[in-house]
Structure formats: structure tokens, C-alpha cells
Amino acid sequence: MDRNRNSIAVLEPSKIIYEGLLATVSKSGYDYVFYHVDNILELELLLVKKEVSVVLINPSLVLNRLNEFARLKKQSPDVIWIGIIYALFDQSFLKVFDDVFCIADEHSLIIQKINKIQNNSLVHNGEDGYLSEREIDVLKLLTKGMSNKETAEKLNISIHTVNTHRKNIMDKTGIRSLAGLTVYAVSKGVINLD
């Protein structure tokens, strides 16, 4: 629902471990939405329905289902996979994860791992909400009722580029309907309503 909040899915059968992680991360002051799933099927379902940035995984749940896990990773290439370690695993197996942490690790270290990976890889869609000059040009024409094609011709760019700008405008403002964008544009003085 809220596109600016990052989500963490935890694939872990133990509710105690899950709740511990939830409490640890929530108390750290970082803002994540949490989902708990206890098998790989549910995880797959969740990844289809929600935008998840990080999956924390109990490695034993994928140990014997590596093919399935590989497929899942392929389906959701942007997700970061972190193993939750509380038993001995073969080091070569643990390479299927982007990172691992041990439940005995310091809280701060665990949080650091989740956040570090997050910030390195996630392209943030301008949470400040300011539009670039080009985006404003596109917004102007679109809210004047021009089609993507007309906008592209007028600005001498490809339709594909118009679409990208359009998507960025929507992501930055959180407004998706043309009528809503018009209200935004008029209110911000981008266009005049006459």
C-alpha cells in the first residue's frame, strides 16, 4: 500500500525467533513492514502480492529445496536474501544467500546487515517528492490532456522515456490518476487552470 516503506519477509517456522527479530528491528528505529511466512510456498505467494525488499530465511527450509529456491530468486531478482543461522551449515551451501547472520550476534550487527544491504542496493525513488525539470515538462503536457505519444513528439523524446517519467512522477507524488495529477500540478503552480 505504502510504496515508500520497505518490507521484510521472514521465512522461519519459529514464532519466537520471528518475534525476536521483529522486536529487535522495530526497536532500532528503522521503519520496515514485516511479514511472517513459514514455508516456501507462502513466501512465493507473498512475493507475488507484496513488494518485499529483504527476505530473512532459516536455511534449513531451503536446504533440500535448492532448485525451488533458485527459481524463487530468479523470479524476484531485486530481493535481498539473508540467512538466519542458528545451527551449523556447510559454508558452500550458505553461498546461496546474499549474507547471513547468526542469532547470537549483537543486535546492532544484525540490524547493520539488514540495513547495509538495503541501502547499497535499493534505488530510492525520491522520497522527498521533488520532480526533476524534465518530469515537470512531462507533467505539464500530460495534465493538459496530451497523450503519451503527443508528449513524446512535443518534447522530442521516445514514448518509452515519457512512460518512465510518468512512472517516476507517480512514484514521487504518490498520485496515480490524471485527475489527481492535475490537482497537484495546479496547486503547485506547474500549470494554470483556465
Binding site: 511472517h36 490537482v183 496547486s187
Partner: protein
């Protein structure tokens, strides 16, 4: 299923406990025309007493508690009347209750301050309001009679006037604009007006958004699959 701090509702749960835990269920009861004086009755008992399909009730009530139904759960719905009743009643809740409420607060916001932004928002809302009313009318007059006719195989059906896709597109529009309105208020436009009215407006917006989400989920992911199943049974 996904994390939710609320109880997963089953037929033996006591309705009283469920309401105390999540009072949005009152709205769910209202849409099923079940009175709030539930005493010590279980979900099953209440459904029986009110002539509501328990399978349908449990699926819907669980959505209010944040649980999506498993696919096989849809097979527990024996009769779509209860689902249709729920949808119809939620329509009248939108038409008679929530949208007029939003309109009222918008008026009130404008009362003391009439700026360009007020006019913009009002215009956006009024156009949106028209669209919603039109859609609800379409559902009441075209979609629901169609759904109803499926349950009665002997009645003649007018298939052509109805399209599942059209139905879906309408919904997406309605929800998108509602979210837009929320984001305009929370992110971009600071209307000059008293906070209390603004908060009430937003609270109503959130309540409506919550109920509309459940509403479209039920129509698209519960009603339509169940109808398709019933149709298949009919033809086979």
C-alpha cells in the same frame, strides 16, 4: 498466513470476543444485517440464526481481520446470496454514509476558507463522486442481477451486458482516486482549515478505503471465482 495480530476466525469462535478484539467487524456484521447484540453466540450460531452462509461469512470476516482466504476455502461457499447481500449493503453504506460524509466535511473545510486549493480538491472530489455513484449504479443494475440469475438456472440470463473486465477496471479507478485524495492531503496540499475537520475527513477516507479494498477483493477474488464454479457446475 501473513502476520496479523488478530484472531483467525473459525465457526466456533465467540462473536463477542472477536468484536472486542477488532471493532471493524461491526461493519462486517452490519453489511450482513446481523445485529450487534451477539450475546455469547458463536459465529456458526449467528449465521444460522440470520440465514447467512457460514462459509461466506468466515471468509469475509477474516478479511476484516487481515487474512486472505486460501483458494480451497472458496468451496465452502454454498450459496452466493450472502455474498451478494454483503456487497449490496456495503454499497448503501458508501452511498448513504461514507461519501456524503466526505462531501459534508469538504463543505465544512471550505466554509471559512475558500482558496484555490479548496476549489481544486472539491472539483476533483465531485467528479470522483459522480464516477463512484455511476459505478455503484452499474453494479446494482447490471452486475448484481446477472450474478443473481446464475444462482437460478431457470431464469434467462443476459450475458452480453456484463463484462468481468469492465467490472475490474471500474474498481481500480475508484481505489486509485481515493488513494490520490489521501496522498494529496497528506503529502502535497495544506488546506487552511481547522485540524479537527481535516482529521475527520481523513479518518472517513481511511475507513472508506479499508472497506472498499475488502469490497473489491470479495467481488473479484471471491464472487467471480465462485460464480465461475457455479456456472461450470450448471453447464456440466
Amino acid at each position: 498466513m501473513f502476520i496479523s495480530e488478530k484472531t483467525y476466525i473459525t465457526k466456533d469462535k465467540k462473536m463477542f470476543d472477536l468484536i472486542v478484539e477488532n471493532h471493524s467487524l461491526l461493519l462486517c456484521l452490519q453489511h450482513f444485517e446481523i445485529d450487534f447484540a451477539v450475546g455469547g453466540k458463536t459465529v456458526d450460531e449467528l449465521c444460522l440464526e440470520n440465514n447467512i452462509d457460514p462459509g461466506a461469512f468466515i471468509i469475509v470476516a477474516n478479511l476484516y481481520n487481515g487474512f486472505m482466504p486460501e483458494d480451497h476455502a472458496l468451496n465452502t461457499i454454498k450459496n452466493i446470496h450472502s455474498v451478494l447481500l454483503f456487497l449490496k449493503k456495503s454499497h448503501s453504506y458508501y452511498v448513504r454514509d461514507k461519501y456524503p460524509e466526505l462531501k459534508y466535511y469538504l463543505e465544512k473545510l471550505k466554509n471559512n476558507h475558500n482558496s484555490k486549493d479548496h476549489q481544486l480538491i472539491e472539483r476533483f472530489f465531485n467528479e470522483y463522486f459522480e464516477e463512484v455513484m455511476e459505478h455503484l449504479k452499474y453494479e446494482d443494475e447490471v452486475a448484481f442481477p446477472y450474478f443473481k440469475s446464475i444462482q437460478h438456472a431457470h431464469e434467462t440470463r443476459e450475458k452480453n451486458s456484463f463484462s468481468v473486465n469492465e467490472y475490474r477496471n471500474h474498481h481500480t479507478d475508484i481505489e486509485t482516486k481515493l488513494t490520490d485524495l489521501k496522498n494529496l492531503f497528506l503529502k502535497h496540499i495544506k488546506l487552511e482549515s481547522e485540524l479537527n475537520t481535516k482529521r475527520r475527513f481523513l479518518t472517513t477516507l481511511f475507513e472508506l478505503e479499508f472497506d472498499l479494498k475488502i469490497h473489491s477483493f470479495i467481488e473479484e477474488r471471491v464472487l467471480i471465482p465462485v460464480i465461475e464454479r457455479l456456472e461450470a457446475e450448471l453447464n456440466g
